[in-house]
């Protein structure tokens, strides 16, 4: 949902999905349509939702890389649990690609049912979303959801520096400016394009005297990094980390953590002077061709099972503190999270917009060759 690197061919979806659409209208036991249901309880309860979703049989997701926050396991588990086939489109797409697909494929059986998007895109596109509140709605902190249920944050983490500890040691952001890091430092995408990369530059800014309202020092940092020959203008992916092209990577901690699987010497560092948090959000599309399956997917993600699966992937689920309190949080997974000390901060809507517009006019000049 955030990668913009491989704009690969979109997967062909929806083989035989036509029949499923036809089945949609007749499945709800309460008689109400699931496409306008704002909660399971208001529309016949969970068992009615499950049977309606099973009748639809499919779910269209988009831009969910399998190694991103444990989505590979989550999708497999959901398919096994409910017998619903999950059609995955454009796994390396950006949040904007998701929204573009909602608009361009509206009315077809290929249209995305559910989205996992960055906040900037969520705020800008609420008119495309159908309001829905999962059973655990009250467990989501109030400032992490839309009061009307149009979007709700799902998981998040802290901006981090992942590095190959067999070659480097990183103890602060400024370390990266030394000559030991020649052609080593990379971002997860272009910050004018990818949310994770924008936050990477923002972290560099915070560590260099900037504020959430001022990303300038971060751009200067990367300009210096580029001038010194330390910056690699390649989008970091699992492949570039494996083959050593990008041995030092700015990315969310849960994404950086995932690289340990293939590279045991990979370490994740969250600088204490720049603890920058960020959450993604879920939303159901108004034009979802599988409205019941879409709602069931959200119920599943916000159940303790779904939340713990994200946690297993190194991401911090939005209901984490509520689950800690009611004892459903998986303590093994929680203990495996990277250590974080310092005061976490998060970009709000206007700060994110200000950072983006500053990057639009200054980023290319700073790192363009």
């Amino acid at each position: 949902m955030n990668r913009t690197a491989a704009r690969g061919t979109r997967l062909a979806l929806g083989m035989g999905a036509m029949a499923v659409i036809a089945a949609c209208g007749s499945t709800s036991s309460s008689g109400a349509s699931w496409s306008t249901a704002t909660s399971a309880s208001a529309n016949g309860g969970m068992s009615a939702l499950v049977s309606a979703a099973k009748a639809e049989g499919q779910l269209n997701v988009i831009a969910l890389p399998l190694n991103w926050a444990n989505y590979g396991t989550i999708i497999k588990d959901f398919e096994a649990k409910y017998g619903i086939k999950v059609n995955q489109a454009n796994p390396q797409g950006s949040s904007q690609d998701e929204v573009n697909a909602v608009k361009s494929e509206a009315g077809t059986s290929n249209a995305p049912d559910v989205l996992d998007i960055g906040m900037a895109v969520a705020w800008a596109n609420t008119s495309l979303f159908a309001p829905y509140k999962v059973a655990e709605w009250s467990d989501i902190p109030a400032d992490q959801k839309d009061a009307g249920g149009l979007w709700y944050q799902d998981y998040g983490g802290y901006m981090s520096i992942g590095y190959d500890s067999s070659k480097y040691t990183v103890t602060s952001v400024s370390d990266l400016l030394t000559s030991a890091f020649k052609s080593a430092v990379a971002l997860n995408g272009d910050p004018t394009e990818a949310n994770a990369a924008l936050n990477g530059v923002m972290m560099a800014s915070l560590a260099n005297g900037g504020t959430l309202s001022n990303i300038g020092p971060g751009v200067s940092f990367f300009k210096q990094l580029n001038a010194d020959g330390n910056f690699v203008p390649v989008t970091a992916t699992a492949a570039t980390i494996d083959n050593g092209t990008t041995p030092v990577v700015f990315d969310w901690d849960y994404l950086n953590s995932a690289s340990v699987v293939n590279l045991p010497s990979w370490k994740v560092f969250v600088p204490s002077d720049a603890v920058l948090g960020g959450y993604y959000a879920q939303a159901i599309t108004k034009t979802a061709p599988h409205p019941a399956a879409a709602r069931l997917w959200e119920e599943y993600l916000y159940s303790a099972t779904g939340q713990n699966l994200w946690l297993q992937g190194g991401a911090r689920p939005v209901e984490m503190s509520a689950m800690q309190a009611n004892g459903t949080l998986n303590q093994t997974y929680a203990a495996a999270l990277p250590a974080v000390s310092g005061d976490p901060v998060t970009l709000d809507e206007s700060q994110a917009a200000a950072a983006a517009s500053y990057l639009a006019s200054n980023w290319s000049a700073a790192v363009g060759s």
Binding site: M1, N2, T4, A5, A6, R7, G93, S94, S95, Q96, D97, N100, I117, G118, A120, V121, A124, K182, S183, L187, G189, D190, P191, T192, E193, A194, N195, A197, L198, G229, V232, P233, V234, T235, N243, G244, T245, A352, A353, A355, A356, S357, L359, A360, S361, W363, S364, A365, V367, G368, S369
Partner: protein
């Protein structure tokens, strides 16, 4: 003299019942026209309309944005990249094509080179970028091998992930493409012309300066323009190699379409695309003009 002769020949060959012939010709061309309309004209029109559209109706603001420094520099980079890679490709490709064209017309060498060029001229995108990353990337096998022998492949910093690297990679498909498009022109050069020059006492220099050079120049420049357009519109190779910084215009278009940080501007993308269409249109006009000039002397 030749002009009169060819006109007479056309008159003689013109069939009776021209109207009938016309309609069947159009019918035969219909698939092409439909194809060109759907995949060439329609997208161009949509791009043009998009470039002048905003959230509040028609506007020039998208085009005005093209004057922003980062967009200007992307256009400059694109033009320089295309010009340099086309020039290297054209010169090296022409020399290679000449070497092959002057050899045996049915020789194994010629067949091998043309077959190879046919394949390599279409080798691009992610696979090509990967091939270079795997050979001379920071952890490429040549770089590692040299490192093991105490040689630093990049003593002045890594240039592969920059315009320089992109230029090198583009020449990889530009040279074979040049061989393919320039070979017919070389084949059209008759040995008799050289013999005639020598009979009249001309040296090799005279032959190239006054006979072969002027004859081949339009074809050479035409091929150069084709190579230029080929590099100008390439996207996937660049995206796979250096997609950070929006260095060239196609990368800026991609950003304007898929930015997830609130910088998505589909209409700016259309304006950028329109700018590229204008550049390519100029090139196409120049190419067809040069084609006509070279066709005058090198009929096929």
């Amino acid at each position: 003299m030749t002009a009169v002769a060819s006109t007479e020949a056309e008159l003689v060959r013109r069939p009776l019942g021209g109207r009938l012939r016309l309609s069947s010709t159009w019918l035969g061309a219909a698939p092409f026209l439909v194809y060109a309309g759907a995949f060439l004209l329609l997208p161009t029109v949509l791009v043009a309309v998009g470039a002048f559209s905003g959230t509040h109706g028609p506007t020039f603001s998208n085009l005005a944005q093209l004057s922003q420094p980062y967009i200007v520099s992307a256009f400059v980079n694109s033009l320089v990249l295309s010009a340099v890679s086309a020039s290297i490709g054209a010169v090296v490709g022409a020399v290679l094509a000449y070497a092959v064209a002057t050899g045996s017309p049915d020789g194994i060498m010629r067949r091998l080179v043309t077959a190879l060029c046919g394949v390599l001229s279409q080798f691009g995108g992610v696979t090509l970028a990967f091939a270079f990353i795997a050979t001379i990337g920071t952890e490429g096998f040549i770089v590692i091998w040299l490192r093991q022998h105490g040689i630093d492949f990049y003593p002045n910093g890594v240039w592969l992930f920059s315009l320089t690297g992109l230029t090198l990679i583009y020449t990889y498909f530009q040279i074979p493409l040049m061989v393919i498009v320039f070979m017919p022109a070389l084949d059209g050069v008759r040995p008799q012309w050289r013999e005639a020059t020598e009979t009249l006492g001309g040296a090799t220099w005279h032959y190239w300066r006054h006979v072969a050079g002027p004859l081949l120049l339009p074809a050479f420049l035409g091929a150069w323009l084709l190579l230029f357009a080929n590099a100008f519109s390439a996207y996937a190779t660049a995206a796979a190699l250096l997609d950070i910084g929006g260095v060239i215009v196609p990368l800026q278009i991609s950003r304007a379409l898929s930015s997830e940080v609130g910088l998505d501007q589909a209409n700016l993308a259309a304006a950028l695309a329109l700018g590229m269409v204008v550049v390519v249109a100029v090139i196409t006009v120049g190419y067809s003009w040069l084609q006509r000039r070279s066709a005058r002397w090198l009929p096929r």
